[in-house]
Assembly symmetry: D2
Homo-oligomer: 368 residues x 4
């Protein structure tokens, strides 16, 4: 009933609080005999790591070094649970004492207390963005499954602080701190973000995630449709308030003749579907977007109440980020990796009907 | 691994194809001693039933009479699985033979074949909108759980054929065929839809769903957040391409000071959060929207291929609807009912820590 | 949280009460393109059907005709949920009114009331053995999956009324009403059972189930071990009080050198393991046994209480069976079929790492 | 699909190999506001810890110190995942190199290789008994839930090396190394075990587990019956080959009038049911037994094959235990704790129908 596990075949359970001793993930269901070493995961984590600097993001520094505690043997996965551990380092020194008895607007402070009757007020506890480090680590393992088919997943910022990217030059993504596929837009985004941050405010944006070389036939009707699972995966990331697939919200304003993707012997002639029809992948690139709300921690004064129900004012001080997007981009990428790895494994059990001669051979064969 | 079950505590499994003998749902986990008779479910089904007429919707007529086959005794639920059955009536006469070897653009024809290697081409088989009748029936049972707390769920059309509703007069919803809370807009929507339908085309739109009197504290961090589950629930409905919670996509273009909801001793002072913070309900109304793509069955000529991979043209003839929205409105309502009932039951197991004296009393007490 | 679904990949949900209008099962996760018609299921159901006569079993007559309501197309499974329906026929005429306010010893009357606060007293409601008809129907579908590998499952009576079968001549199983592999023992069992039934009493027994040609490598450590799942599957059948795998309880009285199965290049040299090591099949026949308690409905007078907590006497009259075994044999067979089909599908998803070149070929290939 | 998680409401995922760096468990679904410190768990672990000495058990020494990495705040559970970590200490020095290419009879060596195509041969890897340390740690947390109702769980040895305990003096359990409730029998068991160990052989036995003060009404028909879940829980422990509830296998040789438990206004007059009727607890003590096979690691010479399929001989040398029972007793206790905590939480969600006025009050109430 608790909700800290994601996936049915490639199952990831995350644990850990912002200011506890550590955080981590357990992956159950990873296929055996995939090459996995800590460096593979570390590379993905380094992209998410807070503290890259610039006007958008300035906060807490964490080395986020991952350890693999189980599930591999001589550099290969064994098919048993993979336990990943990341120690919290920068957490202990900070004082959150003043937040013990007040609810920050836009945060989970109030709802966690109503949900559990107890609340770890230090840095948001479990509702902190730090939990997503475990998701990124797990996503890097999921990618090993996707690599078997050459599936590639990319995430990038297409809007920030009111500035929309005009182009999708995916080669630019790694060349700016915002993971934006439009260098001009990236520059304007930083400027705009700086302006708001100077005022003590924060800004929202939109992240797009794309997966290419996904085979047709992934996804489970009717409730576990591939797009339904992506929607859940994205919306489960803290600041996300909207999710779109393919033409997305715009589809609501199109006609059938505009939105339908005609088919040719060479493939689909457009991709309004975002790679998914009736909940199942159609071999076109999967394209999904998430709308990210501005970070609720702002240093402007806001109305709120304390735990005794009394009105009060709050300024959430300190060096806060202008936007969570630079850290959310790798997280959304990880979530799509997790969804795809899960559905890849859910789908290909059924191949049993195709290759049973092989299995039959083994059954008839000798013991080794 | 198959995906025809929704919910963890209030679990609904649907089954049935568009042109099979029947369709239905099994509900496992409904609390006992709730009053349930067929009429309760029938009322909800009647709202979804195709064939209400008007320019938007003209198609197949089905009585959709529901039978309760198990799980009740003398008019009360017993806590055992509730099996609901709806016979297909209008299905048999139609001929879909010409669609056996061709893939309709925008439909699941191609992807189902890639997924399963076999396809029931008659009316879309399992991917047909008819499957949603079972969801609406199950939603009516879920409402019995919500009734315990007085939770009310409403769904309504806020955009159709490019016309946006200007007001949210919820009293109007039941007074027009489009479930639109703005009578003027409803009229314009019908006109616009008629115009497109005459051309053989179809139109998209947006549906909003609202739940009031939801207690604070529902939702399971981190993956099964209440908004994540709503996103999945909505996106699992055939034509949905986008889902928003509260300020939704707009949040991407707002600042923290605009989007944060200040708190007062009387409650939250705005509801950009859409009733959910950090994945947990905050006692404000839950507000979610789904963007619906235009019905892909249009009578305009489209490029496609047949099952031998050859290029061909298709016109999907017959009296098709201009929009699925009049039938999707009750379905989205049902999906929110299912999510809330599930999370209500997931949440209140934990009350054991609150009332264990009562349980202890029973344990100490006599056998009866 | 409710428990009416079995299996994770091959998922069966059963529904229905003894005296409701019908009972049935929904199977989600059956692979597509398997040949399935009603006759296949009916044959299995006919073996379980009550009313075969003889001294052991004399009760209620039900035709138990199964209907397939979804999940097949032109005689093949489609990969979508298979809904199976069996109408109750002989149920309505009986009067159970005298049991409305009294708890039968050995039955679920008291516990169901404590569990749900409401009870369908007619024939045990959901706790009736009739529910197992749905399991047998589902087991026949599971066998289609097992047929892909030539796996064969047999169930037979090895003890009844204190008489143990001395031999395992599996050809005899179908030649006597008790499914006993020892014709002499079968005769003595009927005699002994008759003696007890004449006194108004009932008898217990032991059923053995065997699966041959199961490939090595099925089962999921550590909790979903193949033997753990069999133990659950068997113990979930009403009257079962004990489950053994291979040498079973006897293993507790053996030494390591006696109980270990030596290995040779041709295979294992004994099968004390019952075909399962460390929770995973080892290619030897899987052998499991269930101990069945005597039917609690006896016409001898027993002490009990009524729903007001008052002491009273009860004789459960009518033509009751001496033993449930003739009906439980097919049910236990079905449960092993379900476990094996589930684990076969759970296992072979992982083959993706073996045949990804094939998948890769498809991805690179043309659309059809 | 992978099987390393147990429970639906109180969910435990274990991870770790015998000779990896660490092992642990993640508990998801533990209610908030329970007092939990490391000492509570350590006490339970200390009982399971290998290396207590005596003729039965002489092997590997591990401090098994547990760390709580998440899920508590100021000594109370928060409702978020509880991550437990135990470092392996004594593991590294041992050499298992000679077992890399040979399959030990009675072990999972062969089946793990067939299952995964890769095998951590060091000490059995994931199939090692060491994994159960994580179960015992989780069981100690589950007990916190049981404590709310005063439920007490005891496990003890009732047979070892062919010697059966004659009495059930539960006060003796903690007074001997075998957790035997019969001091005389315990002495004979040690003698018998010593005799076999001297020969290089090992012995089996039977463990009984009992839970008292369990309220009536726990358990989920039809598949997740309380006894079915106990059967799975017990059989999932490595060496278990048989599970019995109440009268168990003996029920197969009893008549209905002997086996039925008569009911009186003061309670049941006997407990052949072992506290469970129709899968639901009846308020009598829950009594279950597990038959444990002899440890397969024996120093007597055995026939086996190597990974090239060639016949060879093996002696599993070193100071091996005569029986796993002293370590399995706490593990089986933990498994019953886990089952009961899970079903307690699964059951009491449904109380919502009983106390909705309270919830309604909160809904109507002010924000705090």
């Amino acid at each position: 009933m608790a909700g800290n596990t994601f996936g049915k075949a490639f199952c990831v359970t995350t644990w850990g609080e912002s200011h506890g001793p550590a955080l981590g993930a357990v992956i159950d269901g990873c296929p055996p005999r995939l090459r996995l070493i800590e460096e593979t995961i570390q590379k993905a984590l380094d992209k998410r790591r807070p503290g890259k600097g610039g006007p958008v993001e300035t906060s807490r520094k964490e080395p986020d070094k991952v350890q693999i505690l189980s599930g591999t043997f001589e550099g290969l996965t064994t098919g048993t649970p993979i336990s990943l551990l990341i120690w919290n380092k920068d957490a202990r020194s900070k004082s959150y004492e003043h937040l013990r008895e007040v609810f920050r607007p836009g945060h989970g402070d109030y709802t966690y207390l109503k949900r559990y009757g107890i609340r770890d007020h230090r840095g948001g506890g479990r509702s902190s963005g730090r939990e997503t480090a475990a998701r990124v680590a797990a996503g890097a393992v999921a990618q090993l499954v996707l690599d078997l088919l050459g599936i590639k997943v990319l995430a990038y910022t297409v809007s920030l602080a009111g500035i929309d990217a005009k182009e999708r030059d995916l080669d630019q993504i790694e060349r700016n701190r915002l993971f934006c596929p439009d260098m001009d837009a990236a520059e304007k985004m930083e400027e705009a973000a700086l302006k708001y941050r100077t005022k003590g405010d924060s800004v929202g944006g939109i992240v797009e995630v794309q997966a290419t070389r996904v085979p047709a036939g992934l996804g489970e009707p009717v409730f576990d449709k591939l797009d339904a699972e992506i929607a859940k995966a994205f919306m489960s990331v803290g600041a996300v308030k909207g999710v779109e697939i393919g033409s997305g919200i715009k589809a609501a304003y199109m006609t059938g003749s505009q939105n339908n993707d005609p088919i040719s012997p060479e493939g689909f002639l457009s991709n309004n579907a975002g790679g998914i029809l009736a909940g199942i992948s159609n071999s076109e690139p999967i394209v999904a977007r998430a709308a990210i709300k501005p970070i609720p921690s702002i240093s402007m004064e806001q109305d709120t109440i304390n735990t005794r129900g009394e009105a009060c004012k709050i300024k959430v001080g300190g060096r806060h980020d202008a936007s969570a997007i630079p850290r959310i981009v790798p997280v959304l990428k990880a979530m799509l990796q997790l969804v795809l790895a899960d559905h890849l494994l859910r789908r290909f059990q059924i191949e049993i009907t195709d290759y049973h001669t092989t299995i039959r051979d083994r059954v008839n064969g000798k013991l080794i």
